[in-house]
């Protein structure tokens, strides 16, 4: 089959160019050079660099409930590093408290059951201070930092929720660029009226854990 397309294209191009050529010839006087733009084409390259400002960690340790013994605590933390100095962190933890001591002199005890669950959550702001290096062995130095942290949250204990403030400090030592060891000492302060009078209690927690950055 005959294809008329090439002829058509040629005709169109010729017709399109003709007026341009004739007008260019009319406008530029003979001998004058048309300006050639000396511009380089700029390629813009956007760098794609992975980042790891978020952290997710698991921790365990001991939580001492004032008046009610101390027990193992376990929890999870989610953090975001806003700048090299500041970070925000949300923590959920869970432990148990016992009124065993009271049961020795008060046969009924203070709680319904001898052991009661205690859970808490808090949202805190931390600041990294005293950056340095820890030496795991003779040839291995890893960056570390001491941090100060404080925040607010709630403690759920004996079917009641208590407004809780927390403050403390900890040490973070990087094992790799994506993981760190964390040791944390925290005081949780909330008021309790279980023993007949509303009293502010200091509940100390000492924990250690692993944190992953992503």
């Amino acid at each position: 089959m005959r294809n008329p397309a090439p002829c058509k294209v040629l005709l169109t191009v010729a017709l399109g160019i003709w007026p341009l050529l004739s007008s260019a010839a009319d406008q530029s006087p003979a001998g004058e050079q048309v300006i050639q733009p000396q511009l380089d084409r700029r390629d813009v390259k956007v760098l794609h660099i992975p980042s790891n400002d978020f952290e997710l960690g698991l921790f365990t340790g001991t939580y001492s409930t004032q008046y009610f013994g101390s027990d193992l605590v376990g929890g999870i933390r989610l953090g975001y590093h806003i700048t090299e100095d500041f970070f925000a962190e949300a923590v959920y933890g869970n432990t148990r408290a016992t009124d065993e001591v009271f049961r020795q002199i008060l046969p009924g005890g203070v709680f319904k059951n001898q052991e009661e669950k205690l859970t808490y959550y808090d949202m805190s702001f931390g600041i990294n201070v005293l950056p340095g290096e820890v030496f795991f062995w003779r040839h291995t130095a890893k960056p570390s930092a001491l941090y100060l942290i404080a925040g607010l949250g709630a403690t759920h204990f004996l079917d009641q929720r208590h407004f809780t403030a927390n403050a403390g400090f900890g040490v973070r030592a990087w094992l790799a660029n994506w993981a760190a060891l964390q040791i944390d000492m925290r005081d949780h302060i909330f008021s309790l009226d279980v023993l007949g009078q509303q009293r502010s209690t200091q509940n100390l927690e000492f924990s250690g854990g692993v944190t992953f950055f992503f």
């Binding site: 813009v44 390259k45 660099i49 806003i82 090299e84 009641q160 929720r161 660029n177």
Partner: protein, 258 residues
Amino acid sequence: MQYELTFLTARWSTRVRAATGIAALLLASWLAPASAAEQVQVTEPYIELRTGPGRGYPIFYVAERNEWIEIKLRHTDWFLVRTERGKEGWVHREQLETTLTQIGTKAKFRDVLLDDYLRRRLELGSAWGHFKSEPMLKAWLSYNVTSTLAVEATVGQVQGVFSGTDLWHLNLLAEPWPDWRLEPFFGIGFGKLNNIPNASLIGATTSDAKLADATVGVQYHLGARFIARLDYTQYVAYISDSRIDQYRAITIGLGFFF
């Protein structure tokens, strides 16, 4: 029939090929960040490599001008680079700002500017305050649909002497002057409230209620990614057909944008 069959198998094989192709592409894109790190050339007289991502960590190596370095990772304002000689360390953004990419143009590393604040999308924060004279704690997540309009989700808890309250609400916020540093905002929204009396109270029942709220507040750009915020909210809880409760809350908080 034979023709149809071969046609069908051909179609199937193209489909299978397309599927494997897509799978391979996905796999490649998943693996890509690990293998293809960004290369830049140093234009400063030298850049300093530190052992950790912070200005307090010691400098252990210096890369000179014209040296090619590989950027592997970013942590806040610090970049993990690898030099030609295989040294790996953290460099601050400022020292990389004038570096060149492989095609000879300046690499883009930007500070958090006022511009980023004005164009922020996602914001997260928490606040503390008083709800009907009892301590309240809340966290919010807001998304700026436009520079003057935002959608915000809030969850809060009130720890009272006699009861505890959980609440959540969704708000629509208007920010008519987004370019002011101390920026007022107004919002209305709806949500739910759940009041749980303390176990020691006798005869009290938990109550669920629908909630409407109106809020007015100011937020202040502290610098970098931080925002301070003060707000006043009037809550209306529809407890039952014949009972409406009103609560006032004032909170102060700290947030940051991504």
